[in-house]
């Protein structure tokens, strides 16, 4: 069984539409640790040693956050800058994160169609996430396709996220129980849309 760490970053969760419902919906899953970064570090002063210890204690690192300006909220960037130390996470002697699995769970305001050539965002989500891809690569981690929920601004009620929440739960459980085709998941575009394809079929007799 893999241990899953969800590093969650949202500066104004009170006004969140999707992230709030997603994070609340996974709290009860066994084997999943949620670290609410803005709640832990309201003054933006990060406890690096503690964060590193947490990373060591888990096998799957999920970054869940809104996709602000094609990236993450400021605190999560600060977290990357401080926690992924040279000599610890990468570079000479930096082998601590090797072999771990990582992915982003993000929400975007724009619709899926905006994230393509000719769309107003001009690039695909995977292209826009390439800094994360490369960060994972440098640290020797396995980077999977994101679980991206688009058109988040249209969400008004719980019912609007039921489908995505179900998918998210399924994904986390599959990661935990090693029931996922990692190669397929790494090659996919958006796990939220391609979940059925990457989930390994349950024991076939």
């Amino acid at each position: 069984m893999r241990r899953v760490l969800v590093l969650f970053a949202h500066p104004v969760l009170e006004r969140s539409r999707v992230n709030r419902r997603l994070v609340d919906g996974i709290r009860d899953i066994e084997g999943v640790t949620i670290r609410d970064l803005y709640e832990e570090y309201p003054t933006l002063s990060i406890d690096v040693k503690r964060e590193q210890a947490d990373l060591l204690a888990h096998d799957v690192i999920v970054f869940q956050h809104p996709f602000y300006w094609y990236s993450c909220p400021a605190l999560l960037k600060e977290w990357q800058d401080l926690v992924l130390e040279h000599g610890w996470a990468y570079g000479k002697g930096g082998t601590q994160l090797r072999g771990k699995i990582t992915l982003n769970v993000i929400t975007t305001g724009g619709p899926a169609t905006a994230y393509q050539r000719g769309g107003y965002n001009r690039f695909t989500i995977r292209e826009l996430l390439s800094p994360w891809d490369q960060t994972a690569h440098l640290c020797g981690m396995r980077f999977l396709a994101p679980f991206a929920v688009h058109a988040a601004l249209k969400v008004v009620s719980d019912a609007d996220v039921t489908g995505n929440l179900g998918g998210y739960r399924q994904l986390l459980e599959a990661l935990r129980d090693d029931r996922i085709d990692l190669d397929a998941a790494a090659a996919a575009q958006n796990l939220a849309l391609e979940l059925d394809r990457v989930l390994a079929p349950r024991e076939v007799a």
Partner: protein
């Protein structure tokens, strides 16, 4: 017209409300204010409290009775044990020494030895009420001199019991036959019996009563029970022909170690201040100007003689008991007057034929005058005596600073300065530390930190501390006036030297800012501010939201205090208050706006984006959910 209770109460309250604030404004202290109020409404000035002294005495007696109950309550065994040396050592020495000195002087003036001893014992007493009130009003109660005074006063309160027992024995000689009254031994026996009675009541009746009341959970009945005990014991003692004040004092002591002491103290506390005020007013009203006018020199001589004698004896005792110079002087000045017990003892003396009524009358005036003189005496002590004796003491011990060249000078290394200093030391900045508390110096030296004992308001010391070449001066002394003085000196003599200053409150903030100090910090602001943020978190706000709200509020507060500096400097009261109200409204508006669900003006807002979505997809990718 002034006979009714309401009218009397009205007069007393009026006097207190008018004179006490005036006296405080003039720097004379509340106690003197009450005394002046008493003189003014008394029979010799306005005559508002009725012509008969009796009613005034009646009030006075009740004030003392209540006060002694509270004093007794504070005399719990642990405190007694802690202060045992000063209570019984210094206390005994003071009572015996002063009594002997006064009695000796009286005998030298031709008084018989028995009344002389009685007067000596009477005049050895000091005023618990005036001294404790004045000391706490001036913040001196915790000083070593203040503690000494407290101990001696406690001992005096206790010693009244044996003194009351001794008086009847002294009386026999004057009136060879006790006329009508009880024989002396009977009085003494009665006294002991009454005391035992009070003890029995306190031990075996009061506790069950309180337990019963505690079970009923009625706050008022607790207060009522406390008052009932006081009044009841006062009544009992009066019936036995003894001092009610003494009886309630005993009752207080008995309840001091009961589990209901704190409850009682809280219940009685509001009465205490008011009743003490009443007591002081009656002392003022008691001054018999007719009598004083008829023999001014005799009375003035007795007042002066007694007080000088007591002052000299107590100062000497302070030295013998190892108090430092300022503490010795404080003790002597504090206890030089004659106390309220003297009224009781003088009456008791007359009653027991120790001396005649005519003999006692002027003595009562002497007692009252000496009490009235106490607050002015404290002013003399603080303005003229303490500066001299402290200066001399300080000069001797003032450390010589050899070649201080640290980049940072810290004046005041108490709770505030230490935090600043520790951060700087941890960051590798050498400090030159100045403090006036020998305890702090010693504590630091135990930690291996060198600090200098010295008064930072002295320019030579500032030079010696290396202000010439320092890069930063941290002004962290506790006393606001002292801080302002030091700030003025530093600004004047070392204009290049940046100052970071601690201030007490807003007016002090403005004062220091006016001196051109850029970095001024209100001493409790940061902690209160953090508590406010914590409060929001406990109330369910997200940590980061609470933090941002706090930041927003703080920016507002800091801009407001700067803006208000202008009105303060222009001394424009009307504008000040108008602006204050406006600022409060502004803060509320700001906070509500920053409310997590109603934010209007920041980058995380997505309401405008939602609207925009319907128009076109050309919006910037500030997308959130």
């Amino acid at each position: 017209m002034t006979d009714s209770v309401l009218a009397q109460a009205f007069v007393y309250l009026c006097a207190a409300v008018v004179f006490v604030p005036i006296a405080k404004r003039l720097g004379l202290g509340a106690v003197l204010g009450y005394l002046i109020a008493g003189v003014v409404i008394g029979p010799w000035v306005l005559g508002l409290v009725g012509d008969s002294h009796h009613s005034v005495m009646h009030f006075s007696e009740f004030g003392v009775v209540m006060m002694l109950f509270v004093v007794g309550l504070e005399l719990r065994p642990a405190l007694l044990w802690e202060l045992r040396r000063s209570i019984f050592g210094l206390g005994t020495a003071q009572v015996v020494g002063c009594a002997a000195a006064v009695a000796g002087a009286a005998i030298a003036l031709g008084v018989d030895w028995q009344p002389a001893i009685a007067v000596g014992l009477t005049f050895a007493m000091s005023s618990t009420a005036i001294v404790l009130s004045t000391l706490s009003e001036r913040g001196l109660l915790k000083s070593s001199g203040g503690q000494g005074s407290f101990s001696v006063l406690l001992f005096q309160d206790i010693s009244v019991i044996p003194i009351l027992a001794v008086f009847p024995l002294l009386g026999v000689a004057v009136a060879s036959e006790t006329e009508g009254g009880r024989p002396a031994w009977q009085s003494a026996l009665l006294l002991i019996g009454a005391v035992v009675g009070v003890v029995v009541i306190g031990r075996y009746l009061v506790r069950p009563l309180f337990q019963f009341l505690a079970g009923a959970k009625l706050r008022e009945s607790f207060t009522a029970a406390a008052l009932l005990i006081v009044v009841g014991i006062a009544l009992l003692m009066q019936t036995a022909g003894l001092s009610p004040a003494l009886g309630t004092f005993l009752a207080g002591v008995l309840l001091a170690d009961s589990e209901y002491r704190h409850e009682l103290e809280t219940d009685i506390e509001p009465f205490k201040g008011l009743l003490l005020g009443l007591f002081f007013i009656t002392v003022g009203a008691q001054l018999d100007f007719g009598l004083i006018g008829s023999m001014p020199l005799t009375i003035a001589g007795m007042v002066l003689g007694t007080m000088v004698l007591k002052l000299a004896v107590i100062r000497l005792l302070g030295k013998i008991f190892g108090l430092d110079r300022p503490a010795r002087w404080l003790l002597a000045f504090a206890l030089a007057q004659i106390g309220e017990f003297a009224f009781v003892l003088l009456q008791f003396g007359v009653g027991n034929h120790v001396f005649s009524d005519a003999f006692a009358k002027p003595l009562i005036a002497v007692v009252a005058i000496s009490m009235v003189l106490t607050p002015p005496l404290f002013i003399v002590l603080e303005r003229w005596v303490l500066p001299i004796v402290s200066e001399r003491g300080a000069k001797r011990e003032q450390d010589v600073i050899k070649h201080a060249d640290a980049p940072v000078v810290i004046a005041g290394y108490g709770r505030f300065g230490q935090i600043v200093g520790r951060i700087l030391r941890a960051s590798g900045f050498p400090l030159t530390i100045l403090d006036l508390d020998p305890g702090v110096i010693e504590m630091l030296s135990n930690l291996g930190v060198k600090a200098y004992y010295g008064d930072a308001s002295r320019i030579d010391l500032l030079h010696a501390a290396g202000c010439e070449h320092a890069k930063l001066f941290i002004l962290a002394v506790d006393d606001p006036d002292e801080a302002t003085k030091i700030a003025e000196h530093v600004r004047h003599n070392f204009p290049h030297l940046p100052i970071i200053a601690r201030c007490r409150n807003r007016p002090h903030y403005w004062q220091l800012r006016k001196l051109g100090i850029e970095h001024v910090f209100r001493e409790t602001f940061a902690a209160s501010w953090e508590s406010g943020i914590c409060a929001l978190r406990v109330l369910g706000y997200r940590a980061f939201t609470a933090q941002r709200l706090g930041q927003r509020w703080r920016q507002h507060e800091e801009s407001i205090i700067e803006e208000f500096r202008r009105y303060e400097e222009e001394d424009d009261d009307a504008t000040y208050w108008e602006k204050a109200r406006a600022a409060m409204g502004e803060a509320e508006r700001l906070m509500r706006q920053e409310h997590p669900t109603r934010l209007e003006e920041d980058g995380w807002d997505n309401e405008s984006l939602r609207a925009d979505q319907n128009v076109d997809a050309a919006a910037a990718e500030q997308q959130t959910s």
